[in-house]
């Protein structure tokens, strides 16, 4: 048996495939986390002390999330300057989302009743965990885009797209759970 070592500046197919497996696995784990949190909410909201409050901020955060998804779509479907614009939209929307979410969390925590009302507690829980994943996801997307920019940017972009849409879908999911159910 002879062995040939192939040197190449770009990522091999195996490593690309490995990254895809890892991302899907990570997203599956994240889904299970939110499924657990969601099941807790669904049980809790049946208790008599569940009083959902309404507010404007969910719509604002939703807007930022959708904008981030729109941005990555633009980046994925175009080249050159439009692509850069797409990335800029994603970056800006993500930052605004994070700032807004942290503001909501901060005012909940420092509020008079704190997290003693169950609906508030679940807002803090779901939004807080989402923020954490949004930070991880954004950092990952940025890294994978930079790493693949030299060789095959499309594969990195595909992953960044997946992660961004996943985070947006999660945001929609938790907002529906918190504010959209009767």
């Amino acid at each position: 048996m002879r062995t040939l070592a192939l040197a190449s500046p770009s990522r091999s197919q195996a490593e690309e495939s490995a990254l895809r497996v890892a991302v899907v696995a990570a997203l599956s784990a994240t889904m299970m986390l939110f499924a657990s949190l969601a099941s807790a909410l669904l049980v809790r909201r049946a208790f008599e002390d569940w009083r959902p409050a309404s507010a404007a901020w969910p719509w604002i955060l939703l807007g930022f999330g959708l904008a981030a998804s729109a941005g990555i779509e633009i980046a994925a479907r175009s080249q050159g300057r439009r692509r850069v614009a797409g990335f800029a939209i994603v970056g800006l929307s993500s930052s605004l989302y994070l700032a807004g979410a942290l503001f909501v969390l901060g005012s909940l925590a420092s509020g008079e009743l704190g997290l003693s009302r169950p609906h508030d507690a679940f807002i803090a829980l779901l939004l807080g965990v989402h923020v954490l994943h949004a930070i991880l996801g954004t950092a990952f997307a940025a890294r994978v885009l930079r790493a693949t920019s030299g060789g095959s940017p499309e594969s990195g972009l595909a992953l960044a797209r997946l992660v961004t849409h996943f985070l947006t879908a999660l945001l929609v999911f938790i907002l529906i759970l918190l504010f959209g159910l009767q």
Binding site: A22, A26, V43, V129
Partner: protein
């Protein structure tokens, strides 16, 4: 780059190494150190159960916080069984079997240069190492180590006044578990990516050793099950510190004072915890099942009987493990309908387990056996799997479980099937792969002596415990003889403790064998056991793999 050993400093070669083999050994050695701690905790627990009036003056000099004038404090006893369980399950067995063997062997068994993400791999180890430090730090919390059981049921774990360890000790426990889960998750990503995407071209999944298959299933189980505990732990932290009431009901009166807030459900924690907890015990079992099948292959010289059905059995066990968690909660007052549903799934999970046992017998029947130490351990796993599996069937029936839940019967069951089979798997793996890790053989004589003493004393410790449970000896009890109906068990508990002490002392044989063989063991050839799996074809361990390099394409 890989040939230039001298240019790599000690730190990057042995401490912050990216080499999966170094990382694997780091996990293994850390786990061995934690095992000593976990084992000592168990001994203290056993001594207390057998002889509740024991005078611990000599220990109280080392750990003054746990004792009051030579007498162990009940909250310290609670901390002992809490930390013993937590450390052994996560920081010893998961770490050794999955972090240790998994990391070392998966790339070799699939024919890859290293794990898919070596840097992530190193990060996994170091997060685990930090989490080990944090869990040990719980012992030094001023108000005492976490003491609500490894199961940490609220409100006991949520209310700081409910037991002394529920202050900082419990928080440290939660932080350590969170870090451990992050480590395990990162590891699981690496394992799946490597097994699925980095196999040597031409090597199909069905050509893999059953150990690799076990790692595949363990990774999936971990990724899908641990998030439930993560969710629960975050909610518990919020209940403890942010005034929420996920798990705290209204109207709790602690020491005569009403606890404010409430409206939550303690049973929610149980559901979330056991949704992880049950798959977790299969996470611990599967590697040993894989190792046993592979060792049967090597030491009978023929492939294990029914390789494909072994894979299917592992898949069924893994999948069904998500459907049985309620059997830990049969007496919690849940609806009888739910109870029946979980009883059905629990009983049915014994079917694929039974398939494995029959396949093993068929793998041994009419075949020549080489009874080297690794094979002895594999046979030991076979025995423990049968015994422990049988007692599990008892517990899976709702009415029998009423009598046996939270008694010593349960303790006997899981120590035999989970702890025992997993522990024997560690010993089997260490003896078997020692020549691969270190280029030398462990002593057969010491190995056989260690096996025989451990096997005998393990059964001597845990078999009688079933009887104590049937009698009605409750778990987690600082002094059973407060109850008249348990006083006849004094002699049996004494016997069990002596057996446990003998078991602990026997482990010195293992440590002695391990450390003396590192330098003085007989030099091993490339494939001393005559195995056919890929890890034995690598030859002498080379330098570290290049993280960014391609896998070489093999041409015949």
């Amino acid at each position: 780059m890989s040939g230039d050993r001298g240019s790599q400093g000690f730190i990057s070669r042995y401490v912050f190494s990216l080499d999966h083999r170094v990382i694997g050994l780091q996990y293994l050695l850390t786990a061995m150190a934690m095992a000593i701690v976990g084992g000592l905790l168990a001994l203290l627990v056993r001594v207390q159960i057998a002889w509740p009036d024991h005078d611990y003056t000599w220990i109280s000099k080392i750990l003054p916080g746990g004792f009051d004038g030579g007498v162990m404090k009940p909250e310290f006893y609670a901390a002992l069984f809490t930390m013993h369980g937590t450390i052994m399950i996560f920081f010893v067995l998961s770490a050794a079997l999955i972090g240790g063997f998994g990391n070392y062997l998966i790339p070799l068994q699939v024919g890859a240069r290293d794990m898919a993400f070596p840097r992530l791999n190193a990060l996994s180890y170091w997060i685990y190492a930090v989490s080990s430090v944090v869990i040990l730090a719980s012992f030094f919390a001023p108000s005492g180590p976490a003491a609500s059981g490894w199961t940490a049921y609220p409100p006991l774990s949520a209310l700081k006044g409910a037991i002394p360890g529920s202050n900082l000790g419990q928080d440290l426990w939660l932080v350590a578990m969170a870090l451990f889960i992050v480590s395990f998750t990162l590891g699981g990503l690496n394992f799946l990516a490597t097994i699925m995407a980095m196999r040597r071209p031409g090597l199909s999944m069905l050509g893999l050793p059953l150990f690799t298959w076990s790692m595949f299933f363990v990774a999936i189980l971990g990724l899908l099950a641990f998030p439930s505990l993560t969710a629960a732990s975050i909610m518990l932290l919020l209940d403890r510190h942010a005034g929420s009431s996920f798990f705290l009901p209204a109207g709790v009166v602690l020491s005569g004072d009403l606890v404010p807030g409430g409206g939550g459900s303690p049973i929610l924690w149980q559901h979330l915890f056991w949704f992880l907890g049950h798959p977790e015990v299969y996470i611990l079992m599967l590697p040993s099942l894989g190792i046993t099948s592979d060792l049967f292959t090597v030491f009978t010289g023929r492939r294990v009987f029914g390789y494909k059905s072994m894979v299917i059995a592992m898949a069924l066990i893994s999948g069904m493990s998500f459907l049985v968690w309620g059997h830990h909660m049969f007496v919690s007052g849940m609806s009888p309908f739910l109870g029946s549903a979980f009883a059905i799934t629990t009983t049915l999970i014994a079917v694929p387990s039974g398939i494995k046992v029959f396949n093993w017998i068929a793998s041994l029947w009419n075949r020549p056996l080489r009874l080297s130490t690794p094979m002895l351990w594999a046979l030991g796993i076979f025995s423990l799997f049968v015994t422990g599996g049988l007692s599990g069937i008892w517990l899976g029936q709702t009415q029998v479980d009423i009598q046996l839940h939270d008694t010593a019967f349960v303790v006997a069951h899981f120590h035999i099937i989970m702890a025992g089979a997993a522990l024997f798997g560690v010993f089997a793996g260490v003896h078997y792969w020692f020549p691969l890790f270190f280029g030398r053989m462990m002593s057969e004589r010491l190995g056989i002596a260690h096996f025989l003493t451990t096997f005998v004393f393990y059964y001597a410790t845990f078999f009688p415990m079933h009887l104590a449970g049937i009698r009605g000896q409750i778990r987690r009890v600082y002094d059973p003889y407060q109850y008249e109906y348990l006083q006849p068990l004094a002699a049996m508990n004494g016997f069990i403790t002596w057996a446990a002490i003998a078991l602990a002392v026997s482990q010195l044989l293992f440590f002695w064998n391990f450390f003396t063989s590192l330098r003085g063991g007989a030099r091993a050839g490339v494939n001393p056991w005559g195995a056919a799996s890929l890890e034995w074809t690598e030859g002498e361990p080379e330098g570290p793999a290049e993280p960014e390099a391609l896998n070489p394409v093999v041409e015949r």
